[in-house]
Amino acid sequence: MGTSLGERMFYAVNYALLGIIGLICIVPLFHIVALSLSGPDAIATGRVSFWPVEPTLLAYKHMIDGTDILNAFKNSVIITAAGTAMNLVFTILAAYPLAKKHFYFRRFFTLAIVFTMLFKAGMIPDYLLVKSLGLVNTYWSLWLMGLISVYNLLILRSFFAGMPEELEDAARIDGSGEWRLLGQIILPLSLPVIATVTLFYAVGHWNAFFNVMIYIHDAEKYNLSVLVQNMIRSSSILAEMSNLNPEDYVQLTPEAVKSASVVVMTVPMLLVYPFLQKYFVKGALIGAVKG
């Protein structure tokens, strides 16, 4: 394998570039973790880069004692868990019939559903509906308004449609009804794609921001996104913390608390992401082919 000098140069530059690009993706996260763990003097002079300077856990301690962040974390977990479960049930119920060639009005239903992805009523008509149903300030507004994502529905439908029909015929000869066929044969064979769809839904709920801003006005019901956004935007975050006396302010900078709040929101994602990456990538590819 005689590699020329030019080729070796090419590879060296390529590896270096990709190394830098990879670092750019992760380094801001290191920075914010470092800020959240650094002492007030280091932060005030801007000396903190990618590792903690004068390390301290005070920002986390005060944030947990003095803000609603644990409650918001709990809310995010509730929104995500219940929401994802409902998403799955109804997306399967939608995708399975639409994948059948003999399903009545299959084309009409598909078009009517895809149309809702292309044309949306908009923020205010949506809000008026949610309000008239009495769902404002309840998580049902989030769960119901986002019950079925057309994108995920199409992913699932194209997977179901690709299953061999012999499977279905065999089950019918055994006398299985449609529900048993779905529950005992189709779903167990679809676990990888269901995992993918589950993850897309779960990430969507965990990251939910816009809908929570619109439909949830009760501060006790905020999820992490909205609480953290309010903390980042606050110009008097230390004064808003219930457990701090003015003499405590010297121990703490607003930046450290804000960074700590961002870290709390990011860490769960970082923990699960490396293990689930392959499912996400699979979803991106199915989604790219169809929709």
């Binding site: 990879g22 801007g46 939608a94 908009g122 008509p125 509906l129 079925i148 449609e178 956004q229 930046e255």
Partner: protein, 327 residues
């Protein structure tokens, strides 16, 4: 079990005129079999229909208030019609024109400036021979896609802050003076597009990487024998190999030249740059919902949705020329 009359086994002509049962009989049996197959499916699908009707189509009826003067007392149906007055007001108001222009400008910046980055990234990744290195870089560049805009906004504020931000710390060491990155129009726009690329380029590269795997490796071997270097190979084999994917992605992106997301703008904007950063969705949130300008807000939203719909349909029609339409 009506398997006897399954489509595969039944001769086509017999559905019209069977000597035994007569045309009617077969057709009726087939209908009843299809009906039996459909019964459980329709039962499953009923809640789905209900969902789309109630939560997607019913709000579309509410769009009528774009042509009314909405007031809380009379509600959607009782409020008086005003025809196109809301639009006359919106288009006659320089502030509103600015908001519509910003919506268009920010999405166009995202779509067009951001476009080449995933391609370049995929090309670079495609040339990596060490698998572990490729895996690591892929893991890192896909990650930002899963962080929401609140996190990205928080990172930006921390990294670019004037007094305590790290970028300005370096800048002060070099030039002695900090720069208000978040408060100057051009630097804000650069950061805005930069976050789009940071968050999305890796994820979009997945599609190009998949396209790259379809290129025949023999082409590279043959060109290597002919003495082509890396640069020539990329230019003459790799890029032409994914040309149709690039064209398709470009066309589909044009379909999005009106939908800059609320989250991105809202988490990045600040009052110093509101001239260029207020868009339809953020205005709708703050004033449409916030101060009860329901009719103007709905009118703006309808404008945004309609332009978006036209763009997507046009883009899809164009994509069909490449045999790759979405439906």
């Amino acid at each position: 079990m009506n398997r006897l009359y399954d489509q595969n086994e039944r001769p086509k002509a017999s559905s019209r005129a069977s000597p035994v049962l007569g045309g009617r009989g077969i057709a009726a049996l087939r209908r009843s079999r299809t009906w039996n197959l459909n019964k459980p499916l329709l039962l499953m699908f009923a809640p789905v229909v209900l969902f789309f009707l109630l939560f997607r189509y019913v709000p579309m009826l509410g769009i009528v208030i774009a042509f009314k003067e909405y007031n809380f007392g009379d509600g959607i149906w009782g409020s008086p019609w005003v025809g196109l007055d809301n639009y006359r007001y919106l288009f006659g108001n320089p502030q509103m024109i600015g908001i519509i222009r910003n919506t268009f400008m920010l999405s166009a910046l995202n779509v067009f400036v951001g476009f080449p980055f995933p391609i370049v990234l995929a090309l670079l990744l495609n040339e990596v021979r060490r698998l572990w290195f490729k895996k690591w870089v892929q893991t890192l560049v896909y990650l930002p896609y899963f962080l929401n805009w609140v996190i990205v906004g928080g990172l930006v504020v921390m990294v670019f802050a004037q007094e305590t931000g790290f970028v300005n710390y370096i800048l002060k060491l070099l030039t002695g003076k900090p720069y208000p990155f978040l408060y100057e129009k051009h630097s804000w726009l650069t950061i805005f597009v930069g976050t789009t690329i940071w968050k999305g380029a890796g994820w979009t590269a997945i599609i190009y990487l998949a396209a790259l795997t379809t290129i025949d490796p023999h082409l590279y071997e043959a060109s290597a024998i002919d003495g082509a270097g890396k640069g020539r190979q990329i230019w003459h084999i790799t890029l032409p190999g994914i040309r149709s994917t690039i064209a398709l992605m470009f066309i589909l992106n044009i379909g999005h030249v009106m939908d800059v997301g609320f989250d991105q703008v809202y988490t990045l904007q600040n009052s110093m740059v509101s001239d260029i950063s207020e868009v339809i969705s953020t205005w709708n949130y703050k004033y449409g919902l916030g101060t009860g300008e329901f009719s103007y807000g709905t009118a703006l939203g309808l404008l945004e949705s309609l332009v978006g719909l036209i763009l997507v349909l046009t883009a899809n029609a164009a994509a069909k020329k490449f045999d790759q339409g979405l439906w």
